[in-house]
Amino acid sequence: MRLAVQTEPFDLGAESVAFAAGAAGAGAVVTFTGIVRDNGGTLSAMEIEHYPGMTERAIAAIMEEARSRWALVDALVIHRHGRLAGGEMIMMVATAAPHRADAFAAAEFLMDYLKSRAPFWKKELGPEGATWVAAKDEDEAALRRW
């Protein structure tokens, strides 16, 4: 299991291939990639703040929880912070398991927890100024299914 919190871009292709190749015994690999939406150019950039130290602790705890719940061969979380332009990749999660149900469930679980329990805060920088992204009720609700 590996986790990285960084400002630099990551290489989705290289990360996906290395993850799948290293997951010995896996029959199923799921990846999720979060991208800064750029709907017709209305969102010019995003600024992501985080809580150094707690971020890594929270993500490590979430990954341990995923490993205790599903038969995972491996898991990966990469999350960027700082300033990101529209279309840039924000983060990725990867899970590997013998069977697809575990790989999918663990990836969704990790995403639900990263959304609401890892200390990141997004600020959208649009043409009309900067706005902190509000937490969504549906993201809190998504946690209740686990």
Binding site: G34, E49, H50, Y51, G53, M54, R57, A58, H79, I90, M91, M111, L114, K115, S116, R117, A118, P119, F120, W121, K122, K123, W132, V133, A134, A135, E140
Partner: protein
Amino acid sequence: MTVEVLYFAWVRERIGLPRERVSTQAETVAGLIAELVAREERYAMAFADLSSLRVALDQDLADFDSPLAGVREVAFFPPMTGG
């Protein structure tokens, strides 16, 4: 006791500081908030609606009635929006 208090996102912006050392007599998070709110208007504004705030003690999520005894680092921030 003295604690390191951290602010993130719009809490940081309202208070105008990312962190500060605070001497406190408070026994709980709620007591610490009451002391901060009594200081200045910008603190009162930041803590006006506790339902839109979260707190972490030594980097673990906690409640407003959690005790402060032994805690070194208190962080206040809005609900997280990661992923």
